[in-house]
Symmetry: C2
Subunit: 309 residues, 2 copies
């Protein structure tokens, strides 16, 4: 196999109660495409980009960082030509950098005959996240490589769990097109939180994970509350309070900032509710001169998908 074309989905990280831990993979058509071909020159290069503007210089694109981390571990000198068709806007909070970073390591691993485990691919892709935002967070790359809803514990070693996906879970995501850099969104965070709030967030996480295993939407709903990070970040998100209220009014299980924003997501357990939320989100922004993308998605259990070989 010398060439591969893949679909790299968007994703929602944090999911309210799991800052830096939880991630959810969105379904097509929200995502990038990437074509990767082995070349004979032994050089890594980006040959084409379409869509959103991104650096074409491999040394300035996180795709380069992630690919180099993989190739360094692989040892042998192999070159690849990379086409990136970027549809997820950088700085949207929908895992644009993760789509590139997880995508490239997934593609190269396939072309090399799958020498690496998924966990190793995560660690290479996280190098790309570091280039993009300054921190090696796993919460967007993991759901792309494992599919579904994932939990990542970063310690000396990274532990990853693919959690079960309740059948009727829908995601509505609105992206108000203002750019917010992950690094900036991280800078607003205070270093300390109260023990009391840490305990509440911990309880929410337990309830969320249990709710996924038992398909208990009431528990999932009660758990979808971010006590630690959202109160600090909400000022950066346009119309945060209105979005939150409108999601609730439309019957969402819960809602919150997607990743580090400005995108905002809501979960629901019926397609009709997801549609209602979409309409509510649109009307929140109707009087403002901000371009919007609003998507409805089921949870994508597959993750990155091979389109053609």
């Amino acid at each position: 196999m010398d060439s591969i074309k893949i679909f790299c989905p968007a994703s929602v990280a944090n999911l309210s109660c799991g800052y830096d831990i939880l991630g959810l993979c969105l379904s097509e058509p929200i995502g990038d495409e990437m074509v990767v071909r082995k070349n004979t020159s032994g050089v890594l290069r980006i040959t084409k980009t379409t869509g959103e503007p991104i650096p074409k210089d491999i040394d300035k694109n996180l795709v380069g960082t992630a690919a180099k981390a993989l190739l360094k571990s692989y040892g042998t000198n192999v070159g690849f030509d990379i086409e990136i068709h970027k549809k997820i806007k950088p700085g949207s909070g929908m895992g644009s950098s993760a789509a590139s970073g997880a995508g490239i390591v997934f593609a190269i691993n396939q072309l090399l005959g799958s020498p690496f485990t998924q966990e190793q691919l995560v660690s290479f892709a996280m190098e790309g996240e570091k280039t993009a935002s300054g921190s090696k967070h796993p919460d967007n790359v993991v759901p792309l490589l494992f599919g579904g809803i994932t939990l990542s514990k970063s310690a000396e070693k990274l532990t990853i769990v693919k959690l079960p996906t309740p059948k009727s879970l829908f995601v509505t995501v609105v992206h108000p097109q203002i750019e917010l850099r992950t690094a900036d969104a991280r800078n607003v965070l205070k270093k300390n939180v109260s023990l009391q709030n840490a305990v509440k967030q911990t309880a929410n996480m337990g309830l969320f994970v249990s709710g996924l295993y038992t398909e208990n939407y009431e528990h999932i709903s009660q758990a979808l509350e971010d006590i630690l990070v959202e109160p600090q970040r909400k000022a950066l998100i346009p119309k945060f309070d209105e979005l939150k209220q409108s999601a609730k009014k439309a019957g969402a299980l819960g809602s919150g900032i997607s990743g580090s924003g400005p995108s905002f997501f809501a979960l629901s357990n019926a397609q009709g509710t997801a549609e209602k939320i979409k309409n509510e989100f649109a009307s929140v922004f109707s009087s403002l001169p901000i371009e919007l993308d609003i998507h409805i998605s089921k949870v994508n259990d597959e993750g990155i998908r091979v389109l053609s070989l």
Copy 2:
């Protein structure tokens, strides 16, 4: 039914990653017995106590606080004679006050024909916890009333989940007989923790809950780590570091302070390992003039049990 005799088990709260949230009910014979009889005088009174010294005055015993909370909600004036055979030492960190508080409300509810839900019983029993330690924490009373391993989220309303119990889970608990009051153990805690540590603890909770649902002992083991509270409390626990090391050496999944201490627990997934841990714990204290109780227990899925009516 005019009389009931019950067994009120000991319990382990916190379970490392779930401060104020998780609790585990221990099996017989570790626990109190209580006999409660309707009386005709309409008065609530403690008629007999045996075992550990506890107040016989109903106004000074948390049993009174919990019972009164229930009876106030019940409305009608009914009196009860209460015998408490106290075997769980107060201040041991093994849920002595919860055994009394959950026991009395369980017994009275039975004698009244079960007018209250388990959740209501939890709230009455928590009034007893407040009398005992100054705070209405649910983490010991919930596993007694629901059985097994439980998660409690305290918010405007209390949400309780009974988590699944992996078949081969064993608990070894050592109680070095020095008294440590819950209130004192709470006073050593700082009000703030780092966001980074809060995130780690949240990840541990997610991993623990997932590990219980999937019977993944490796995940359970990785999750059994208390980043928030144990580092602050360990100085209060005699031989903490040695206990921790000896549990690890013997093959425990994890270990930590039971409730607010001084008892110390270790979880394992084989009876042989639980026995080994017991021997290790004994040898840690062998040179010290401290009396010890060491128990091995499976998880008690039933909780408080009716011995006779």
